[in-house]
């Protein structure tokens, strides 16, 4: 069976593609894409960065959230060609298994995930929040994450995780 991505990337002769250069997690990546390829699929299947999930594919769940020039976007709702010349950050850019980002540590410490499907999107939305507002209230955290759905945790521990990370990041700054 061919995947959606293969269908869209095995471009028949005569169908125009575009060469785009995107800085993904600090690294320049140059690829040829059909204009209709979605950024989420370029990231997952093309660049093999499968930390970015696609849950609903209808712009509702936020599992596909990545940072686009530092702001959170739903990558299932952007064309890969639109990212030409821009910076994209995915969960793979946040930290490594041995050196977690404070937000990742927070999710671990506060049990902010169960199945983990929503987690990458949650963490990137949280990162965007903390970059603008290093000392958010609980309400502000809930508000910032309200475009991301979680079907497991009931959100309580996700909010705690982000507040934990905010504390740690402020301590590191101090």
């Amino acid at each position: 069976m061919t995947s959606l991505y293969e269908e869209v990337t095995q471009v028949p002769d005569g169908v125009p593609t575009r060469r785009v250069t995107i800085t993904v997690n600090g690294q320049k990546r140059t690829v040829d894409v059909e204009p209709r390829l979605l950024l989420a699929h370029l990231i997952r299947q093309g660049l093999k960065l499968t930390g970015t999930h696609t849950g609903c594919d209808t712009t509702n769940c936020g599992a596909c959230t990545v940072l686009f020039d530092g702001r959170p976007i739903k990558s299932c709702t952007m064309l890969a060609v639109q990212a030409d010349g821009h910076k994209v950050e995915t969960v793979e850019g946040m930290g490594t298994a041995s050196e977690l980002h404070p937000i990742q540590e927070g999710f671990k410490e506060e049990h902010g995930l169960q199945c983990g499907f929503c987690t990458p999107g949650m963490m990137l939305a949280a990162k965007a929040l903390l970059e603008k507002n290093p000392n958010p209230t609980e309400d502000e955290v809930r508000w910032a994450l309200s475009g991301n759905l979680c079907r497991c945790t009931g959100y309580q521990n996700i909010v705690k995780a982000v507040l934990w990370a905010a504390d740690k990041m402020r301590d590191q700054q101090a």
Partner: protein, 291 residues
């Protein structure tokens, strides 16, 4: 579903973008925030031959006020720019009130004010604010610019007065003679949902007297409901309990809700009445405190 094939252009100037639209003879679509268009492409509700991405065109992300008080909102001003604008917070309560209620915080980083008005969704929040505020859309085409009054901009659900070779470059909102007051209330089932019912109210006031009242509704009709005539019972009057009740009644009558999964028609009409009362009473209280 996956979008069907299209060609893609990312022009660097408005003139270039308009020339591409013109050459495509109606087979091209403008891409702004993409938060309605990309989902429509995926569902194949739209299958244009060409996408003209305007995100790389400079000079379209301004929110500014002219010397005569006219507010101008460029085509690339995102929902979140509206939400974060100190200017709107201070002087445009109708817009500030709606800004954080449009979609969800992540959709708001991309979706644009003008794109939302162009999408002409009967449940769209910004079109309602534009009608209440007496706004106009500045359209640019091969023959230059023209201004289209919001009351004649939306022709029906998802249909506007824009020609195929025109781009909406800016939204224009006239300044108040006196002080601008107003508000926006929306009932949604959860964050990111479209309106079960929402109400945009605008008052241009001199002291305690209303010079002009404006109102429009989303979610309670086959199109954005223009309730300016209904709320005009307040023109030249003060915000007494009696006048507020009459206005709320008149606006609720103007709604044309249908029973659906979001609620019954009666329920939605009731919400409209409650919201109008709530916004107007809030303004009356602030006026009393100031006096």
């Amino acid at each position: 579903m996956y979008p069907s094939r299209f060609e893609y252009d990312a022009p660097k100037t408005l003139e270039e973008a308009i020339a591409i639209l013109d050459r495509s003879g109606g087979e091209a679509k403008v891409l702004a925030g993409g938060q309605s268009l990309v989902p429509m492409l995926k569902l194949r509700f739209a299958s244009p031959e060409r996408i003209v991405d305007i995100n790389g065109i400079p000079g379209l992300n301004h929110v500014r006020v002219d010397a005569d008080g006219t507010l101008r909102i460029g085509a690339l001003v995102r929902h979140e720019d509206m939400e974060n604008s100190a200017l709107l917070e201070k002087s445009y309560p109708t817009l500030a009130g709606a800004a954080s209620l449009v979609a969800d915080p992540i959709v708001r980083t991309r979706g644009t004010f003008v794109g939302s008005v162009c999408h002409a969704d009967p449940q769209g929040d910004w079109a309602a604010t534009m009608i209440a505020l007496g706004g106009r859309i500045v359209a640019q085409g091969p023959n230059g610019r023209r201004e289209i009054d919001m009351r004649s901009f939306v022709l029906g659900p998802f249909v506007t007065a824009l020609a195929f070779n025109e781009i909406a470059v800016e939204a224009v909102i006239p300044g108040a003679k006196g002080t601008a007051r107003g508000g926006y209330l929306k009932l949604e089932r959860r964050v990111g949902d479209f309106a079960t019912a929402s109400v945009a109210v605008y008052l241009d006031m001199s002291g305690a007297t209303v010079n002009r009242a404006g109102c429009a509704l989303a979610g309670v009709g086959g199109r954005t409901i223009d309730a300016n005539d209904a709320i005009s019972v307040l023109n030249g009057k003060q915000l007494t309990d009696e006048n507020i009740a009459a206005a709320a009644e008149a606006v609720a009558d103007a709604a044309d809700p249908r029973t659906d999964h979001r609620g019954s028609a009666d329920y939605k009409r009731h919400i409209v009445k409650t919201f109008v009362t709530r916004i107007l009473t809030g303004i009356a209280r602030t006026e009393q405190k100031a006096a």
